[in-house]
Symmetry: C2
Subunit: 536 residues, 2 copies
């Protein structure tokens, strides 16, 4: 940390010597850092348009985000990815894209599109694409499956991000040796240490879902700094707007005893080197003038953010608006028409399979329970917290849908549903009665997807997401207000999960153990097949 | 330096633990380094096809070369650049391209083509292109000329190489602050220090022309290592085949007292970081298996080179051939037809301008001398070492040509000429009589360019360069043998310059002081205009 004058010209750092300037700002007594870089974030999970969220990031000092857009790619294929990247042109925030490596997440998933070699080759040449996104197909890598290895080869020489929760030993070595450079899934100190020892770059993650910063704190010492960056992975709009972003993580690092320069490095120079961003590898002349100004080195609160030489945020005021791109909803949902009667399930035995959901984990349990049957039809049993779960295809108008039972929502007298359901983002609904399930289905189908809640037979709240069923058209305040109302209603319905929509959205992802619900029915992740036949 | 087993899989480093393997090599007692990287080299100056020179580089441990192909771009525009890059596909050596930023070198040059923004935008997306090549238009940068700055902006976030001989102080600061990251023109310790202080990455140069290693040795200490790489810039085929490449530089570094790991870093990890080559930023698993094996740490002689996991050189044997691409000469010279009489120059006064050439420098002197006149025509005067110099356009068949006198070649009884003349690569001839000048002109025009020597009226030697007039079709041995014969003949003609062809090839480059010869006549570099009218 040095006391210096700092001049900016043409959006770049010019000099640390006093020079004649058109405009002079007095920031004496304040600290200046390069702008913050998030190394791994799925931006679509904010459910907001880039023009809406970019100002929020800038106000918290974030000037560069590395995103893996596999949500929008699943929801709309390459056209959706292109559409999203066009929107990114209009915002002052720099967003670089890691080409999604696993769309769909596995061969049992049916989303809107497939990103194959051809699509990835196209993406590779896009100005905004700087590497290959998290390689979640661990089995494919370990087996050196040709289709998987060709994706990695396509991005040879560029960063290739990993995704290897709990992988260790020889399997981890083989995974890294395939040409994978980073990981953001380390949740324990030992896991982090081993991954660093194998040469991986670690993105220490602290987002709205997984919070690994405290566990990995001991790793963040001098010798590892060039190999450590910060990321949030999944970030809710609520957390971003109400709490902040990397500034929150940096505060925690500094307050835990890490020196300010070391802490800042994880959010600035380290990721710039890893992601090969030559114009922000430090604070020398010629580097991009992306700067953050703050007052208290022990409690980093952003006073001012400068992006490409322009003040975009100062003392609570967002100054730079970017230009809004008017964009019309590019897609409609294609859900088959069902009647309420179509949703009823005939009992085929006296036992049912139940997906168990628990607070604080994405893992599910596979349970078998006695069925509750009336007139030959399966019923929920709220006394035992067993309610309906449905997954409807929303891309091909398939009449076949997935049905199962779920336990752990403690939801009574209603249903919730969303078209943001990992990773295929089909239409998922959870509820304890068919009237509300049907109400949510109708609202989401007619209303361009989104999130909906029906209680006692009437639609209480609906946040439409006209953009591929995963992004809303509203501004941040309206979104948060509606979301809050929905959570309040959920509490009144008996739900005690902290984030029931979030838990629901992972019910359909067939790559996390133990059991999931897809449009083809209940899916056993370990055995990789459907447990029951689907319900036509 | 550690003792370890090292295994390779799929062309990548796999592990430093002993593992079961199909093939085992015993290299106990030997040292292993990552393959060497040349940070800046104009490959076309070797005058050989990539399939010819690649084996020579590999046998000296070089596995990656960063090249600026501005010679071929001047000689044939974007199509020639594409042609050359296709040839690079067939060789095992990795060659990455910095897009030539200054083609033509200035607005007074007329080469085959112009690389404007459109062409650079195309190049930017090419898999092989990783940044913007040396920005020689220093004035344009300092003036923040729009056309120049747009080229730099086009490559924002990627490495942008500089070229700023002797630039210092505020001018250097302004040059760097425009977004230029490196320099390879520092020839003194002070110059190197200042450039490092401004945050530039320095390529320490030791090639066939400029030799700056000794002067910059004191810089190469620990604190600067991440900012230092090695380059050769211009390398003759003779030096490459007879002496070597970066192994020569590394020997010198180690023998001067630098530790082996520090020396190696300049040719491996440092340039990999600067050029953002994510697959060779170290020796960890998953990195490209480009390796050099040598025995004596104090006298690095390459025993074995491994490229992408395959042994391509071992103990004097080049093992990997690559596959030869058959390529037909893609262009013909378009030189107007001249008779011998067309070459005669009528005297227009009693004084002539003379370009003075000296050993060991590319700078020329501007002299004025008494003309020697016979029958109204200008004659050379070998007593005063004043001989003819001609530059003929070879792209547009222009009848206008540049004529002047040159001093310093001490050439008697003949003429030499070449179509490799910086940067436009027009046809340049120097000689003391019209018969030999005409003989060289005829040989080069009919024989697809190259280098030619005529003595006492007969063509003694000719190395045709059918590929854009700058690259020969022969193998290395034949090329060196012909070149040697030409130099021997030159000595017999009285020439004492070490490299007369080389000196001649820079006579036409109008960006180096003081005076040059272009197709439009004598050009004053400082005043930026032609001294005399051209000779039609």
């Amino acid at each position: 940390m040095e006391r210096k004058a700092l001049s900016i010209k043409d959006g770049k750092l010019f000099s640390f010597q006093p020079v004649a300037a058109r405009e002079v700002m007095d920031v004496s007594g304040l600290y200046i850092s390069p702008g913050f870089i998030d190394s791994h974030l799925h931006l679509e999970g904010l459910h907001l348009l880039p023009s809406v969220y970019s100002k929020a990031f800038l106000s918290h000092g974030t000037t560069t985000i590395i995103t893996d857009l596999h949500e929008i790619a699943n929801a709309g294929g390459l056209p959706a990815l292109k559409w999203y990247m066009r929107l990114l042109e209009a915002i002052p925030l720099d967003v670089y894209v890691m080409a999604p490596s696993c769309v769909p997440s596995c061969r049992f998933e049916k989303g809107a599109g497939v990103l194959g070699l051809k699509e990835l080759a196209w993406l590779r040449h896009h100005q905004r694409v700087i590497g290959l996104g998290e390689m979640m197909n661990i089995g494919g890598v370990l087996d050196r499956k040709r289709s998987v290895m060709r994706k990695i080869e396509l991005f040879a020489g560029k960063p290739v991000d990993g995704h290897a929760p709990t992988l260790s030993g020889e399997a981890l070595r083989a995974y890294v040796a395939a040409g994978i450079h980073s990981d953001h899934e380390a949740t324990t100190l030992d896991e982090g240490k081993e991954k660093l020892a194998f040469g991986m770059h670690l993105f220490v993650r602290q987002g709205s879902v997984s919070k690994d910063l405290d566990a990995l704190l001991p790793l963040i010492k001098e010798s590892h700094l060039p190999k450590l960056s910060l990321c949030t992975d999944d970030l809710s709009a609520r957390d971003l707007f109400q709490h902040g972003h990397l500034d929150v993580l940096l505060r925690r690092l500094v307050q835990s005893g890490l020196s300010l320069p070391r802490a800042l490095r994880l959010a600035t120079i380290s990721p710039a080197h890893y992601f090969n961003l030559s114009d922000r590898k430090g604070l020398g002349p010629g580097n991009k003038a992306d700067l953050v100004v703050f007052e208290d080195p022990k409690d980093i609160r952003v006073r001012m953010t400068i992006k490409k030489g322009r003040v975009v945020y100062r003392d609570g005021k967002r100054l730079h608006q970017g230009h809004a791109i008017t964009t019309s909803p590019p897609s409609r949902l294609n859900v088959a028409r069902f009647s309420l009667a179509d949703l009823r399930q005939q009992a085929e035995g006296r036992k049912i399979h139940v997906i168990g959901v628990r607070e604080g984990t994405l893992l599910t349990e596979h349970r078998v329970a006695e069925a509750r049957i009336e007139d030959g039809y399966l019923l929920p049993d709220t006394d035992r917290d067993i309610i309906y779960a449905y997954v409807f295809d929303r891309y091909r108008g398939e009449r076949r849908y997935g049905f199962g039972f779920v336990r752990g929502f403690s939801l009574q007298g209603g249903a919730i549903g969303t078209t943001y359901a990992h990773d295929s983002h089909n239409l998922i609904i959870v509820g304890d009665n068919l009237v509300d399930v049907f109400g949510v289905l109708t609202a989401l189908t007619k209303g361009k997807g989104g999130m909906a809640l029906s209680r006692h037979g009437s639609l209480v709240e609906h946040i439409p997401m006209p953009f591929y069923g995963i992004i809303a058209a509203c501004d941040g305040r309206e979104f948060l207000w509606k979301e809050r109302r929905m959570h309040d209603a959920l509490k009144r319905m008996g739900v005690i999960l902290t984030n029931p929509f979030f838990q629901m959205s992972f019910l359909s992802l067939p790559v996390i153990p133990a059991v999931r619900l897809t449009t083809s029915g209940l899916f056993d992740v370990a055995c990789r097949h459907c447990i029951e036949t689907s319900y036509d």
